[in-house]
């Protein structure tokens, strides 16, 4: 069976696209690696009714290829479709610091997923740290789950840019204010210009070192805070692996898509965070727009809404950059690559041997060579060589067993 549209990723963008496409009479398959729809944002929500959509869950897509009639989406089974929508979302961007590989250190997105998707309390006493507007809803989610949130630490300082962005978006400003009030009511301090610069503990987190940061994020005035769990997030990294496999044009860390979500490759659409992190409401609008690029004309209302949300997202992104001072949080023994256990010392040695770019550094010292293929350390490793983080090609977007790979060219059009 060949579909008109294969949607990879069942988060806000993919769910919306699949629903709208089915309503418009398209034969649509919605594919996701997890056992439930929703992606990271809606993982805990009630499973939506998707009438007319072929929903393929637990299907981890490891590669997409062009084929004569369109595209093949390879997971444990292969799905064939004339058009492909990539809605694979994003994962947290993280920065290394001493002790960040201790159990009990979680990503901010991970902490939220544990509450909303898994309905557990990630810790008893937590510190939330990083940068970006996402930290606020994470902290509030944790509070509501019964976590004692001790502090919320935003590494950046309030800026005129931030203020201007909020002033132009009263609804977002109101949302942010509500979060801040909720924290204040629970007597949770929200401190800007602060960060968790080390985590301590034997087998898991027992406390963290919090520092004040200069505007460039160099630490000073350290103190310790007892806690059993930390949530850290420094923004998000779009998961562009599938788009890169097909040769879609990128801009910085994300896929370039036009106003109807068309990428540079004919027949390939992209929507949501993969086209630049902008949040769930934007992803919903883009999911719908992607379908309109196949059938009919996009409603002007949606186009305007998308433009507005994207402008706001860009302004926010500029307001919450990652600044270079984080390097001063590291000691020579700090693990930078968690998978291959590559320390800053090993990275400095490789740089001394002539590794002046992320690729050479990887070849000489192995950061990014392990299970996660650089998803966790890629940002830091690029910055440590003085480069802007850039997506790397991953022929396998997910690991697959050799046994499954042996079947690959025998199950075409399966």
């Amino acid at each position: 069976m060949s579909y008109d549209l294969a949607v990879v990723g069942a988060g806000p963008a993919g769910l919306t696209a699949a629903r709208v496409a089915a309503k418009r009479g398209l034969r649509v398959a919605l594919i996701d690696g997890y056992a439930r729809t929703g992606g990271q944002f809606l993982r805990g929500a009630a499973q939506p009714r998707l009438t007319g959509v072929e929903v393929k869950l637990g299907q981890r897509v490891w590669a997409v290829e062009k084929s004569p009639g369109g595209f093949q989406v390879h997971a444990s089974a292969t799905t064939t479709a004339a058009t492909l929508l990539i809605a694979t979302g994003a994962h947290d961007t993280v920065l290394p610091f001493p002790g960040w590989d201790l159990p009990g250190v979680l990503t901010a997105g991970g902490a939220q997923a544990l509450v909303k998707g898994e309905r557990i309390r990630p810790g008893a006493e937590m510190v939330v740290a990083g940068t970006g507007p996402f930290l606020l809803p994470v902290a509030v989610t944790l509070l509501e789950a019964g976590v004692r949130v001790k502090e919320v630490l935003e590494a950046n300082r309030p800026s005129p840019l931030m203020a201007a962005a909020l002033a132009r978006n009263p609804s977002k400003a109101a949302e942010a204010l509500a979060y801040v009030r909720r924290l204040a009511a629970a007597r949770v301090p929200y401190r800007t210009g602060h960060a968790v610069v080390a985590a301590h503990g034997k087998d898991s987190v027992e406390g963290v070192t919090v520092a004040r940061l200069t505007p460039e994020w160099r630490p000073y005035a350290w103190r310790t805070v007892d806690c059993d769990t930390v949530a850290v997030g420094y923004g998000f990294t779009p998961q562009v692996d599938l788009a890169l496999q097909l040769g879609c044009e990128l801009s910085g860390d994300h896929v370039v898509a036009d106003d109807r979500q068309r990428t540079s490759v004919e027949g390939v659409l992209a929507a949501g965070e993969v086209t630049g992190v902008a949040g769930a409401p934007s992803a919903v609008v883009e999911g719908a727009l992607a379908v309109h690029s196949l059938v009919g004309e996009p409603p002007p209302r949606l186009l305007a809404e998308k433009a507005r949300l994207r402008r706001f997202a860009r302004a926010l992104e500029r307001s919450y950059p990652v600044r270079d001072g984080w390097r001063d949080w590291l000691t020579p023994d700090t693990v930078v690559c968690r998978c291959e256990e590559v320390t800053l010392r090993a990275i400095d040695e490789a740089r001394d041997l002539g590794a002046h770019d992320p690729r050479t550094l990887k070849l000489l010292a192995r950061p990014g060579m392990g299970w996660c293929q650089g998803r966790m350390c890629g940002h830091a490793v690029a910055r440590l060589t003085g480069h802007e983080p850039a997506p790397q090609k991953r022929p396998f977007a997910q690991p697959i067993t050799l046994a499954d790979l042996t079947l690959h060219d025998r199950e075409d059009n399966a």
Partner: protein
């Protein structure tokens, strides 16, 4: 020195030790080309009797010396194990091994050396001299130990005055030298002032998840690998080549294709490599593949490297065209170039490697 791959780095190391002041120029930095896409083979097992085997044997000795002198590149004298699926192939393999003068080898039951090998193989030959290095580290360490200056910029052309090469034009200006060594690997044939018939041959490698104890100890490959290396076939050829690394991963090769400078992933080829690997080591069926990459192996029409003074221009030396054996052959190549540039006795007869042989 044009090129900071393993050949350029080895040459820089040998030349500086002979008192020559060396500047290395590479557009991508150290090990950014074929060296960065290889397994780090230091093999004698796959060389048929002749000049390349002599070079490989000399290199094998030199690699051991380099490990002692310089080190830091995961030298591992793991030994090679060539397996034969049928009695006929085993006979041919045994005869081949017997003909390899100076190579230590022994006919073995392959499962004595590799307990996870599939049942039903006819037999195998063990080559204890075969070894492995981490090629990128090897290039970087040798280059660092040489003290040569590395300039990261592209070499646009050779500078020629009369019938002599006097230097190179780079993206950062002209560099003058008494001698220029072309160790530009896959791109070594493309200088218009002194072209060579060097072409790329594409090869894929699959990389598995890391194991605490990898299920493969030696470099294990099927006898078909030897015939494929020497083959002139245009189409895709694959043969099972499997080994582990010190990082715990298992590397799976080998494929050969002539498709120019294209390094795009072809999942059909990867599936074929996977089938061969699981065929040899059924235990690998459950291993997860993390990544794959393609490299370009520079080959010459007779599959021998091109080493020695250019036959048209003075002051220019070539050290290229090592195909898939550049890591293994680099130290002896460097010794030969050093003898030719700075004076001395070449380790083996240079005539079969002479650049003028295709003229």
């Amino acid at each position: 020195m044009v090129g900071a791959g393993i050949v350029g780095a080895s040459c820089a190391y040998a030349l500086t030790r002979a008192g020559v002041r060396v500047t290395v120029v590479d557009r991508g930095g150290v090990a950014s080309g074929t060296t960065g896409a290889g397994e780090g083979n230091v093999l004698v097992s796959d060389k048929e009797p002749g000049p390349e085997l002599e070079l490989a044997l000399r290199s094998n000795t030199l690699w051991r010396e380099l490990d002692a002198e310089c080190g830091g590149f995961e030298w591992e004298a793991k030994g090679g194990l060539v397996v034969a699926e049928t009695p006929e192939v085993l006979d041919a393999l045994t005869a081949f091994a017997a003909s390899q003068q100076g190579v230590e080898s022994a006919v073995v039951d392959p499962r004595d050396l590799e307990p996870h090998l599939a049942e039903g193989l006819a037999g195998g030959v063990h080559y204890p001299q075969d070894a492995q290095v981490q090629p990128m580290l090897a290039a970087a360490r040798l280059l660092r130990a040489s003290g040569a200056r590395l300039v990261q910029t592209a070499v646009e052309r050779f500078l020629v005055s009369g019938d002599r090469v006097t230097g190179v034009r780079t993206g950062q200006g002209d560099l003058y030298a008494d001698a220029v060594v072309n160790a530009a690997g896959t791109w070594a044939g493309s200088f218009a002032q002194a072209p060579l018939p060097i072409r790329p041959r594409k090869g894929f490698i699959l990389v598995t998840q890391p194991f605490a104890v990898p299920p493969v100890r030696h470099k294990v490959y099927t006898a078909a690998y030897v015939t494929n290396v020497a083959s002139d076939a245009e189409g895709l050829e694959t043969s099972g080549v499997i080994e582990s690394t010190q990082a715990g991963t298992v590397l799976i090769g080998a494929s050969r294709q002539r498709v120019g400078y294209d390094t795009a992933i072809d999942y059909t080829v990867l599936a074929k490599l996977a089938r061969q690997a699981v065929g040899l080591f059924p235990v690998l069926a459950d291993a997860q593949v993390m990544r794959a990459y393609a490299g370009l192996r520079p080959y010459s029409p007779d599959h021998l490297p091109v080493i020695g003074p250019d036959h048209r221009l003075g002051g220019l030396f070539h050290a290229c065209g090592h195909e898939g054996a550049g890591i293994g052959l680099a130290p002896a190549t460097a010794e030969m170039i050093t003898a030719q540039v700075a004076g001395g006795t070449p380790p083996v007869d240079p005539a079969p490697f002479a650049p003028g042989r295709f003229a």
